[in-house]
């Protein structure tokens, strides 16, 4: 049967007569006893404690704690799973849990970003790093926390790579509580109590001996650990105990319920055009990034939606957001649109040199063939285009920023999809007064020149 966790503080959280699955003299046994002492001193109800264990010898500890919740995870990821549990508990649930991670030196490095981010977020997670300088479970290979000179299975001549200062990294990641102890320190239990009690993120690195591997190849006994820490420049004791950081759940809570949903714009219904579409129409607009090609096309698409048409719009740009070409493909039709691509455009509008290059490279010029209407801004050469090509002074009349919008609105008016005032209203809803006036003036200008 599942052990009941309804009990309040236990006399012991470790299984009575627990048989540790560790080698003789292994520091992990010390660590677990000190953890048990800390939990007992805090008198935490067992159901309020979650122990998240990593892969490695120390990760075997979950089976030794029969009354608290345990989650045995993948290698290095224990802190990330613990962070998810703590976030869900503290921000969205009862905020009841104390989440404790047991991880080794190997797991601490492979999962370093999880430690760093948990510290930055400042979630209520306490991480105990059992640093015995080697991967014990796989045969004593050197880790990123192996001190220089240490002989391991993978550094038979002695390690020449300086170890990471884990506490230093966490200190500089805004961790509010950081401490380093030897597994045999009398103070360890009190430090763990403090680390668990705080509502903040806490990391306690515990230096210990892997008697199977670290001691076998190196003249190492427990008392040498202090000297070893000194040589690495590893500070011992409590290194950081900040009280100036708010836990994440205190900082994020006030946002709840106050933020609006994604702001939507109501699309105006527009009178059905005098000459309704009977078949799908494909329009391609190619210009430069930063010149509102995609957002202007969206306004045009919404205008068409307002008339009751089915519309699809897809956009393309290089991986960068603010340079190079920007292109939109719109399909408008009287019935639902299946294929959202355009096999042969009916209209191709080219507004800038970037757009012109993309139209050639991506084959739009070729697809336009002899049947499409091609409009090219007057500032560009159009020798490469045969067929129905028109030069329009779009950049001149509307300015580069509104050239795409002006082009599409001019098209809408010409094809009698919408009146000038429909277009102006749509632009006003989306972009405001000034562009709306610019469009009104520009569309009339092009109409009077009979440019289209």
């Amino acid at each position: 049967m599942t052990a009941s966790t309804d009990n309040l503080a236990s006399e012991t959280y470790l299984a009575p007569n627990a048989v540790f699955p560790f080698c003789k003299g292994c520091g992990h046994s010390h660590v677990l006893r000190r953890l048990d002492e800390a939990l007992r001193a805090l008198r935490l109800p067992a159901r309020d404690v979650v122990l998240v264990t990593d892969i490695g010898c120390i990760g075997l500890a979950d089976s030794l704690f029969p009354t608290i919740h345990t989650v045995h995870t993948t290698h290095g990821r224990s802190t990330a799973f613990a962070t998810g549990i703590a976030l869900a508990d503290s921000v969205l649930s009862e905020r009841r849990l104390k989440t404790i991670v047991l991880i080794g030196d190997g797991g601490a490095m492979i999962g370093l970003q999880h430690l760093v981010h948990a510290a930055m977020l400042n979630v209520d997670v306490t991480v105990l790093v059992g640093n015995n300088f080697v991967y014990g479970m796989t045969g004593g290979q050197g880790s990123s926390l192996t001190p220089e000179g240490l002989v391991t299975a993978t550094t038979p001549e002695g390690n020449v790579v300086p170890p990471m200062d884990l506490c230093g990294i966490l200190k500089n990641s805004h961790a509010p509580f950081v401490a380093r102890h030897l597994a045999t320190d009398r103070a360890l239990s009190a430090t763990l109590q403090e680390a668990i009690a705080t509502p903040n993120f806490a990391l306690v690195e515990i230096l210990e001996l892997c008697t199977e591997y670290a001691s076998r190849h190196n003249a190492m006994i427990g008392s040498a650990l202090k000297e070893l820490a000194r040589r690495q420049g590893w500070e011992l004791g409590t290194i950081v105990a900040r009280t100036d950081r708010q836990p994440y759940h205190n900082r994020i809570r006030p946002l709840n319920g106050k933020r609006d949903l994604r702001p939507g714009r109501t699309i105006r219904a527009v009178q059905t055009p005098a000459h309704p579409l009977r078949k799908e129409l494909g329009i391609v607009v190619a210009g430069s990034a930063g010149e509102r090609v995609q957002s202007s096309t969206a306004v045009f698409s919404e205008l068409m939606l307002g008339m009751g048409y089915h519309v699809t719009q897809k956009n393309d740009n290089p991986v960068t957001q603010g340079s190079g070409f920007s292109l939109s493909e719109v399909k408008i039709g009287p019935s639902p649109i299946l294929y959202t691509g355009i096999e042969q455009p009916d209209v191709l509008g080219i507004l800038s040199a970037d757009g012109w290059r993309e139209a050639v490279v991506s084959g739009w010029r070729a697809k336009a063939g002899e049947t499409a209407e091609v409009f090219v801004d007057k500032s560009l050469p159009c020798d490469h285009f045969s067929g129905r090509v028109r030069h329009l002074p779009l950049r001149e009349v509307f300015g580069p920023e509104w050239a795409a919008l002006g082009f599409l609105m001019t098209l809408a008016v010409r094809d009698r999809f919408a009146s000038v005032s429909d277009c102006v209203e749509a632009v006003q809803d989306a972009f405001g007064e000034a562009p709306a006036e610019k469009v009104r003036w520009g569309v009339q200008q092009l109409q009077s020149e009979a440019a289209l």
């Binding site: 995870t73 990330a80 549990i85 869900a88 969205l92 994020i252 897809k314």
Partner: protein, 362 residues
């Protein structure tokens, strides 16, 4: 619409990492979840994003993350953890051109098998594949229902051309239903209690009133790590059996079969839209063609496929990858038929290209 569907489904937790073309889902969740009593936050990488979501689900919340191919590659270790620990989770995988970083702003259907076969040992991960904005909404809700009810990770598979294309929707036709919740465990029962292997064990949250033991390692019904015990093997079988046994419940297809047709076009996702247009054109030209769009790619909706195959001599499977990934999965069902692919990478397959393949048969 995936965001709207997820919110409607009752999703309360989202952790994300930006990647084109899935970033819109991340941003949408950041905009929508807090106002609905949920939490959406940035993770420092995709591994953290999915682990945060799994952690939140272990605590009892409906949780989701979203990514594209390169991020999916980083997530698969944790997808297996969710499967092994029977933790409900929805992952929106928005495909882009691969391999490697490929083309961030180009669509593709190249991750179909990566999505399904990311697990060691031959387990089935349900994969839903919407083709329209409306389906993104309804299948997001269904993905949550499956994840919760069957206690499994579920992949909602789209691509750039679905996730980043705007189109008209009929908001009156949107499903008003929310997703179902995970079954809850009876007091005192084992964490992964089942009598028959196909049973779905009741869920008990980490941090709840009864102790929970969770492990990504092979375990017994109590969740205790065990090596090779008969009960552990039972649990390993159960993880697949619970899906396989109710295969029929996972079948979502749209079939448009024509009497007398000897050619069947089978497609999915964005390509199924081009395929249907090609079928419409072929019929307008007097060619009889049947059409089957598959929305639930895995488990494979075998019955619906076999039904569509009646009288069919040629099957055409258009999909936007080099060698016909899903076609290779279906081929064993097509025995006796002439199976052809229409394949392409770098841009969408056009109705014209599919129509050409249909005409070649005639």
């Amino acid at each position: 619409m995936i965001v709207e569907g997820a919110v409607q489904a009752g999703c309360k937790f989202f952790a994300g990492y930006p990647i084109t073309p899935a970033t819109g889902i991340f941003k949408g969740m950041v905009d929508m979840l807090p106002g609905r009593g949920g939490l959406a936050l940035s993770a420092p990488d995709e591994i953290s994003a999915i682990a945060y979501a799994i952690g939140a689900s272990l605590r009892g919340l409906k949780a989701m993350t979203a990514t594209s191919g390169p991020g999916w590659a980083l997530m698969t270790e944790s997808v297996q953890f969710a499967l092994m620990t029977e933790t409900p989770l929805v992952i929106a995988l928005v495909q882009r051109l691969g391999p490697s970083t490929g083309g961030a702003t180009q669509g593709a259907q190249g991750d179909v098998l990566l999505a399904e076969y990311c697990t060691s040992g031959g387990y089935t991960i349900p994969v839903l594949c919407p083709a329209t904005a409306m389906e993104c909404y309804s299948l997001a809700i269904l993905a949550f229902t499956w994840a919760e009810v069957y206690r499994t990770p579920v992949v909602l598979l789209t691509d750039k051309e679905i996730a980043m294309t705007s189109e008209r929707i009929d908001d009156h036709a949107l499903c008003p239903m929310t997703a179902q919740d995970r079954p809850t465990a009876k007091a005192g029962s084992a964490a992964y209690a089942f009598e028959f292997p196909q049973e779905i064990p009741g869920f008990r949250p980490v941090g709840g009133y009864e102790k929970v033991t969770v492990t990504g390692s092979a375990h017994d019904k109590q969740g205790r790590l065990q090596k090779n015990s008969p009960e552990t093997v039972q649990v390993l079988r159960h993880l697949e059996e619970k899906i396989r046994w109710r295969e029929q419940d996972f079948s979502v297809v749209e079939s448009d079969l024509q009497a007398g047709a000897e050619t069947l076009v089978v497609s999915y996702g964005v390509t199924s839209r081009a395929a249907l247009q090609a079928v419409v054109r072929a019929r307008a030209e007097g060619t009889a063609v049947s059409f089957l769009a598959i929305k639930s790619l895995f488990p494979v909706p075998k019955k619906a496929i076999v039904k569509a195959l009646a009288g069919i001599r040629t099957v055409i499977v258009p999909e936007e990858n080099l060698t016909g990934l899903y076609r290779s999965v279906l081929s064993s069902l097509f025995h006796g038929a002439d199976v052809r692919g229409v394949n392409k990478v770098g841009s969408m397959i056009t109705p014209g290209e599919i129509l050409e393949a249909v005409k070649e048969v005639q």
